[in-house]
């Protein structure tokens, strides 16, 4: 067992989380449940996640193709529900990335993931603003979503 192989395991899980988010946005964009005003946001966030996947794959020495499908919430009935679920999925993924930082070994790999966490925190903020919620509900990411 080497540091690189241990980091690769952690990164594989992080990549899977990014793939899940790409799948989520791709699916909701295809359903037509987003208004024209919301579609560019969904596309932009999805594009960021694709970039995150590529960076993480590069950091881990390459990881295979995404799964064909991921489970989705059943209640994606309208834009309000989609945005709410997007915020939840983004927050969940961000928190998992944050915890992964504690076990990564290589400093350069930690930096890549921290850079992604920062932007994913911004995703949550934008989605919370869209819902007219406090965009920055706490002083630390580890505080969670707050109210």
């Amino acid at each position: 067992v080497t540091a690189a192989s241990e980091d690769a395991k952690v990164l594989a899980l992080a990549i899977d989380r990014e793939d899940r988010m790409v799948f989520f946005y791709k699916t909701v964009l295809a359903t037509g449940r987003l208004t024209p005003a919301a579609q560019p946001l969904a596309r932009a966030l999805s594009s960021n996640h694709q970039a995150h996947r590529a960076a993480l794959a590069d950091a881990s020495g390459g990881v295979g193709t995404p799964r064909d499908a991921y489970p989705l919430p059943a209640d994606l009935n309208d834009e309000t529900a989609v945005v709410r679920r997007a915020a939840e999925i983004e927050e969940s993924g961000m928190q998992a990335h944050l915890k992964a930082l504690a076990v990564l070994i290589a400093p350069a790999v930690r930096t890549v993931l921290a850079s992604i966490v920062g932007v994913q925190a911004q995703h949550v903020t934008v989605l919370r603003s869209w819902q007219r919620l406090d965009p920055v509900p706490g002083a630390f990411l580890t505080d969670g979503l707050g109210s």
Binding site: E6, N48, A51, A102, V103, Q122, P135, V136
Partner: protein, 180 residues
Amino acid sequence: MRRRSFLTALGAAAVAACTRAEPATTTIAATRGPASPPTGDAALIGRAVVRERAAVAAYAVAAASPLLTAPVKARVEAFRAHHEAHVAAFTRALELAGHRRPDDLPVGPPPATESEIVTIEALAGVETALMTFHLDNVGRAATGELAMTVTSVLGVEARHAAVLRALAGGDAITSPFVAP
């Protein structure tokens, strides 16, 4: 014991949230090296205290501007409180580990406040610089736990920057990555 107090004080919630045990292999232990003395991390956190204090000072200047509208002023006050919480957490960690709090250093020129938009843009600049500073520290931290805790702070500053950029009429998210 001293080191655990140090980390626990800084990021108890963050450390407790970490449920994945570190791999315990000889190879990895050798890669990590011996347990680092807290001195290196203490210096890192001391510098973070200084930078966060500078952010508090910048926000205080901005909040005093009579040109801010009520919603923007409320946002500025909220973000200042976050930076005060960062200062408090970092300082508490230093003191509990037996280190003295760092001296105040010159904080640079105050943010421009000629208009509301100029003030907002200046604060966005403060946040961007702080994010970059913390990201650099993530790579320097002796432990993953400290890297995670610093990222917890960095992420909130990334959120601040996004809100401020949007208030200034720009794109909230300008890149897929927090760039060093």
